[in-house]
Symmetry: C2
Subunit: 485 residues, 2 copies
């Protein structure tokens, strides 16, 4: 065991900035902002609040009260100014939003960003990504890649994310250090990797990790079955049994391409989602990633089982996989979340960029300009993600009683001017660099545009050591240099 897990509650092992100040000053925390004599941790006074719930609302002249990691009030500014608090923070050109939920990724793969582009999914995986992973994946690879990913995720507005990758124990450590909220779905596939020898070993190691993180307030561990084509039926049946016992989330790549569907029809005589349904693997804790090329029957199965769809628009575009019919899914009552996927297939990890893409692509896919409006896209990227991860009681909107997972976006730059419509400027005009502040459970991750828990220069320097290793390896296996693009 290389790592230690904190028992300090909501904030992992990070020092709690307000708790320390409380101890120094003798303040007593309170959970109710309606008591004006009480002392809050933080009162945020943004120019606008986009709470996501109620849908479509944009508040001005309001303040958000944060106490002990929770939102304990949303009050008129003149009232907010009078509440005693350890800190009052004015954000005069910013909109305050719930933190974005990035529901699918492989964060360590940032190290492979740009290493193999312009290739279809199967070629990309089998000829490029898997051979490199076989040669390089290690605890160090996962540490360096995850840190680089976390930095980009945080600066792009993500406060909660889901990760599926080898050495999830290392990923968990890095997330705990960085202070994000996360779901880690440990990968299950029947291929020997540096992390585990086969599907059985994946499950054993992953379940041990789940036990270890049982009481962590910000990190939950679930099962990440890679796909129906890479995990044998016997292993999928074992997972079904486990899920019944554990009430754990399951995430799986499903219907990523038409070729996957055709392959499944050839192999089992069923579409992948029907196959999963027959094995008892669909349900309210099942997160189906990608879901392109859907029939009405596929959508019925998603709805009747209360399974979730994780839409990854940029990855689907870049690999020419297809496109998930988000507008139809939402109209059918299926919950949709949003994910960046990994940087080897995106190649960005910006949730602000991703939600913009989702809104644009939904219109093209449905040929309806009304599809996935700015408001709807923002809901998918926040509450939709929270629902998919089963944490909608805690995150996904700015509501009293929820955790203080918040982001502030500066709308004063020329590219978001003039401010005809706040939500539109965020969704359609942002370039993904508007973030100035970010909090998870009241813990600040970014302040005035500077990350507090991640060190950019050191992280970039560690990442920069990898390309020459990849190049030397490529040269050694293919002296013509033609093996990888």
């Amino acid at each position: 065991m290389h790592h230690s897990i904190s028992n300090s509650g909501l904030w992992g092992h990070l020092p709690h900035p307000y708790r320390a100040r409380r101890q120094a000053t003798g303040y007593t925390p309170v959970m109710n902002a309606t008591n004006p004599s009480s002392v809050a941790d933080l009162i945020i006074h943004p120019e606008w609040i986009v709470p996501v719930v109620p849908r479509g609302q944009v508040l001005t002249n309001h303040s958000v009260v944060v106490t002990d990691g929770c939102i304990t009030g949303i009050v008129p500014s003149n009232e907010g100014q009078r509440i005693q608090a350890i800190e009052h923070l004015n954000l005069p050109s910013q909109a305050l939003l719930p933190g974005l939920v990035n529901a699918h990724g492989h964060s360590a793969m940032t190290l492979l960003r740009g290493i193999a582009d312009d290739a279809p999914l199967r070629t990309w995986l089998q000829d490029h990504i898997w051979p490199l992973e076989a040669a390089f994946v290690s605890e160090t690879f996962v540490r360096d890649g995850t840190d680089l990913a976390l930095l980009e995720l945080v600066m792009g507005g993500t406060t909660t994310f889901s990760d599926m990758y080898f050495f999830p124990d290392v990923t968990a450590q890095r997330i705990d250090l960085a202070g994000l909220r996360a779901q880690l779905v440990f990968p299950v596939l029947d291929v020997a990797t540096a992390w585990a020898t086969d599907g059985e070993a994946c499950l054993k190691k992953g379940l041990a990790l789940r036990d270890e993180y049982r009481d962590h307030a910000l990190i939950q561990i679930g099962i990440g079955a890679h796909s129906t084509y890479s995990v044998p039926e016997t292993t999928l049946r074992k997972i079904a049994t486990l899920l019944n016992e554990l009430d754990a989330p399951l995430q799986i790549h499903l219907h990523e391409t038409q070729a996957e569907i055709t392959g499944a029809l050839d192999t089992h005589g069923e579409r992948p989602i029907s196959f999963l349904n027959r094995l008892g693997l669909l349900g309210p804790r099942t997160q189906c990633v990608h879901m392109t090329a859907l029939t009405d029957e596929d959508i019925d199965l998603l709805r009747s089982s209360n399974s979730h769809v994780i839409h990854c628009p940029r990855s689907n575009m870049k690999l020419a996989s297809g496109v998930s019919p988000v507008d139809r899914l939402l109209k059918a009552g299926v919950n949709v979340a949003l994910g960046t996927d990994g940087a080897a297939s995106n190649n960005r990890l910006s949730m602000l960029g991703e939600l913009q893409m989702a809104a644009l692509l939904a219109k093209l896919e449905s040929l309806e300009a009304t599809a996935l409006s700015a408001t709807a896209a923002l809901e998918v990227a926040t509450l939709g993600g929270a629902r998919a991860l089963g944490i909608e009681a805690t995150v996904g909107s700015i509501e009293t009683g929820k955790a203080a997972d918040l982001i502030a976006l500066d709308l004063s730059q020329p590219h978001t001017q003039p401010l005809n419509n706040i939500v539109s400027q965020i969704v359609y005009a942002s370039n993904g660099t508007e973030l100035t502040h970010s909090w998870v459970a009241g813990q600040p991750l970014v302040r005035d545009g500077k990350p507090l828990t991640l060190a950019p220069a050191e992280i970039s320097a560690r990442a920069a050591r990898w390309p020459e290793k990849f190049k030397a390896h490529k040269a050694s296996i293919d002296p013509t240099g033609n093996h990888l693009s």
Copy 2:
């Protein structure tokens, strides 16, 4: 006449920074870097050069020599270091590229950014945009909107752009002040506007402007017929006659939606491109903007006439218009350029963002991950645009003898790390904010991330005055507030 046009040659009326220094020092400019005793204006030493021509090349350890606004050499760095020059500029974390060519836009419309989203083209135009334009378009509107657009264009890597909007005389003034290279296509449509009473008046005013700018080195004036559905056949025939006389460029919105094509079939019994062809309006100076829903016959007409396609992927997505089959067009030998369109339908004016979108969308449209590779996307956004505008002898690539229209992109930020592939990181991983330097004809527009010819605070302040005017107008015509979204 409010404005004066400079006769100072390549740089409009801006003071030429090197010319002034030459006068102070008595240096004699030379046009040939191979003469080591000569004195150049500027030697740029970037970490990488992506010259676009030859295709796929990335140079390291090379320098670019700039003299009198032109690229006068691309030489090994050790040689470049020894060339006498007024300035040597080291760009140790930057890639130097040809400036991006944004081949279609309506820059004044930035003031309408976000004012009407999530509506299809016809509704968006007829119920939202045209009524607002009827109420507000003026010289002041065009000045304020154009300046805001120019700032965003320049900071996103555009050095040449094409504009189609009312009061093109005002647009020309603002561009001349800002120092970009531009094609202005004056709008021709048979609707009374604040600028012109009808199609005839548009032509008269536009041709006078063309005369006025005949000798301007950076600005050329062409004809912007709005579309086949908004310009009567008689006016289009007049334009055909004029084009024969003038050798001027023609830009037209064409095949923007399937509805436009269906409408043309109902009206003339022909698809819009066949209609244009019959009127003699297709040719090597014809720029067809949008071009969705193409048949093989449409593509044959484009190729045989040597007409150009201006692809506007984000605008087409946002308005649910459709998608231009860029991969098929390029394979058929049709030149493709790229445009952002206006900020009311995009809502961004970042060419770095637009070329990223073009590369991603081409893969989805063709379901081929090899479609519009990173290298091909960069060529479309540079040389493709230059060809469309008829200025490929001057701009579009870093080649000795071309104008020094250059941009430098900083690749040291975490989101472009690690540097497995320079062109991939620029095309797929950039967020559009990497620009640190920009030059047009050797004139610096941006230095160290700061615009030199545009004042962000003043421009934003002028733009910020408009939303309340729009709101008051909306309230006056529709007290329920339901007229505009």
